[in-house]
Amino acid sequence: MSESTPVRRRTIVNKHEISDKRMNDQKTQSQYQPYKDAAWGFINHWYPALFSEELPDQHVEGIQICGVPILLRRSNGRIYAVKDQCVHRGVRLSAKPTCFNETSIACWYHGFNFDLETGVLNNIVANPDSTLIGTTGITTYPVEEVGGMIFVFVREDDFPLDDVPPLHHDLPVRFPESGERFPHPLWPSAPSILDEGAVALGMHRTGQSNWRIACENGFDNAHILVHKDNTIVHALNWVLPLGILPTSDDAITLIEDEDGPKGQMQWLFTDRWKPVLENKDLGLKIENVNGRFYRTSVVLPGVLMVENWPEEHVVQYEWYVPITDDMYEYWEVLVRVCKTDEDRKKFKYRFDHVYKQLCLEGFNDCDLYAREAMEEFYADGTGWDNEQLVETDISPVTWRKLTSRWNRGIAKPGKGVTNATKTSSIRMRRLAEGKAPGYFVEKIDDLNKH
């Protein structure tokens, strides 16, 4: 640039006023800056991708996690996961699944054919001698299938496969082995999806808010006010407090084991937290009589465990899987160990006729709309600076610091992927057709009708 060109300031970004009366003062915020940067999620972690039954043999499905398009195919007796974006010109392979054998997938547009195990470009339908073959490919993702769920390790393209940790590093702590460290005198040991005979039943759906807002809702002990009027609470006469206040410095214990998950356990229903059952000034009093003890913990990359919920011997897991910076896939899963077919049938019956309607829908629907109600304040990034947190927010603040330390990577904004560009005309057309942006790739209908 020549000497005579005027030197100009870059466009100034607004600075927002920050009050020093809040719990999240400037210093606290700087401690969790990496979390504030993680709008597209934490990458290089295990996430649930599909329920097993959603991927029958020979089926192909396309999804998106942390801005990464991922294709899953079950064939050859196993599940493969590869990047759902052709190296040629970026077409989503899953939009019109085309497989010429058990171990590869072809792009349906120009016939680029990829090995599912290695991701290598191993053929091109009409150009089998191309010099490009063997020199490029798509990223592959490690897969685990347990208890009826399929998990994928969503990695950056250059994250070494040798560094991939075992799945249990990204799942809640297990019982009874953690029983001494986290005693639970009021309920039996929570099952784990990794237990033998574990059965996971649940649902997943897209929520229109940032994943962090969704995740923080799950273990925020003041949020239970949104459940005050829920059917199941009153049908079963549960004592669900107006809120639960921390009463000591050790209300939360960090989980930072070398060979295990990283997260936090909240000592609910001990003397470290005080349930608030009445607010006289506002004329509020919980009159129900049946104790309903539970405990929440959360581990990276955002996995909630609610022990003893909604019944004894059942545990509720939730995931808030980032899709983009303004959408997440909400997973609500109940796990119970079923030793016999009879047990399985009973659990399934109770799930289909009680839990699904009253818990996963009725109760948790309130969480879903509450998160969406918060989204706009945070959508442009300013909410993270302007929010004014209070004592009960010790839970999210602890979480933010912990994840700033232990995340395995901050996902970069999705590039060239579905819903990354909010104003594209194709997105507008889909909206006009009544299709909300979501998790799954829309499959192309066969147009060859005539």
Binding site: V7, R8, R408
Partner: protein, 343 residues
């Protein structure tokens, strides 16, 4: 000086190799620049160490009348500064960086002053922001030259920020009595001033994706390139290496950036920090002593560790000797020396 031309082989760390013909009277760097090899260099006068290479075959010496800032121990290990080195017959040099490193050519840029902040008795943090239309990509650990406003002088400083922080650039500058940069910083510099820069320069930068433990020893404002490298390691995908940062200052009133270091410890579980002052008293969490001796004291050091050193010449010499005694290979020790004009 030889009377006939010589053949000189130059090998980059990624296996890329070039053969040069060096004419009588030419330095190796002259010939390499003429042949457009991606070699890192800056001062061309034997002081900045950017063009450092290792002589592995043949003989090559400093040209008569020139001097280099290399330590005797470095020369003995075959280190040469190519800008002042003439071959004595055919020879071969190896470079400690890959053939892509030198492709980011230095550029001229202008930047606004965002903040001038005194962070210790004799240290100023200068935050710049590249002006509209300018950009300067760099590798963590490299330095820029800053023209001192109102003078013809330039000074070199390592970036404390990372490429991801661009267009913001953060420098840590030691205040020296009578220094021209110091005079500007203390008496005149203010937000919205415009300064001219050039860069990036230097062969001292983070080698990417190395799994072996990293040892970083920083004296005073030698902390700057370490901050850039630590922040880059944190943002790199894959399992993070263990990092030992040993940071030393002369005395308590010279200490700075402790909050910034605390944050990195919070964000990077593999980071292990030791802070020293040469003279007491020392505040909590700081020991009295030098930043070199604390490495390997009561701990086992992996001999495959890589080391990054930045500080005054005496500290670098001591650190090199200490680390080699702990079993580190000289090839895995990278150093940036404060030059005399680093005011």
């Amino acid at each position: 000086m030889t009377l006939t031309s010589t053949k000189v082989a130059i090998a980059f760390s990624d296996g890329v190799e070039h053969e040069l013909t060096v004419e009588p009277g030419q330095t190796v760097l002259d010939a390499a620049v003429a042949a457009e090899l991606p070699i890192l260099y800056q001062c061309r006068s034997g002081s900045c160490s950017s063009c450092i290479a290792t002589l592995v075959e043949g003989e090559a010496e400093t040209r008569p009348g020139a001097s280099s800032t290399l330590l005797a121990a470095e020369r003995a290990e075959g280190k040469r500064l190519l800008c002042v080195t003439e071959p004595r017959g055919d020879c071969r040099f190896e470079l400690g960086y890959d053939s892509a490193a030198g492709t980011a050519k230095p550029v001229d840029a202008q930047a606004f002053v965002n903040a001038v902040e005194k962070v210790a008795a004799d240290v100023v943090r200068l935050e710049l922001e590249l002006a509209d239309g300018y950009w300067m990509d760099f590798r963590p650990g490299q330095f820029v030259q800053v023209a001192v406003p109102g003078t013809d002088e330039v000074r070199s400083y390592s970036m404390a920020s990372t490429p991801a922080d661009l267009p913001k650039v953060e420098l840590l500058i030691r205040i020296l009595p009578g220094g021209v940069m110091s005079d500007w910083l203390v008496n005149r510099a203010k937000p919205d001033d415009v300064v001219k820069l050039s860069g990036p320069y230097g062969a001292f930068f983070l080698r990417e994706k190395v799994k072996a433990p990293h040892i970083m020893i920083a004296g005073g404002t030698g902390l700057a390139p370490m901050m850039s490298m630590i922040d880059s390691i944190r943002a790199t995908s894959g399992r993070k290496p263990k990092v030992i940062l040993s940071f030393g200052c002369q005395s308590e009133d010279g200490l700075f950036h402790r909050d910034a270091i605390d944050l990195r410890q919070l964000w990077l579980p593999t980071l292990d920090v030791r802070i020293s002052v040469d003279r007491g008293p020392a505040p909590d969490g700081v020991r009295v002593g030098n930043p070199v001796e604390v490495i390997g004291n009561g701990e086992t050091i992996d001999p495959d560790s890589v080391a990054y050193l930045c500080g005054p010449p005496g500290m670098l010499a001591a650190a090199r000797q200490h680390l080699e005694a702990l079993g580190l290979s000289p090839d895995n020790i990278f150093a940036e020396q404060f030059t005399a004009s680093g005011a």
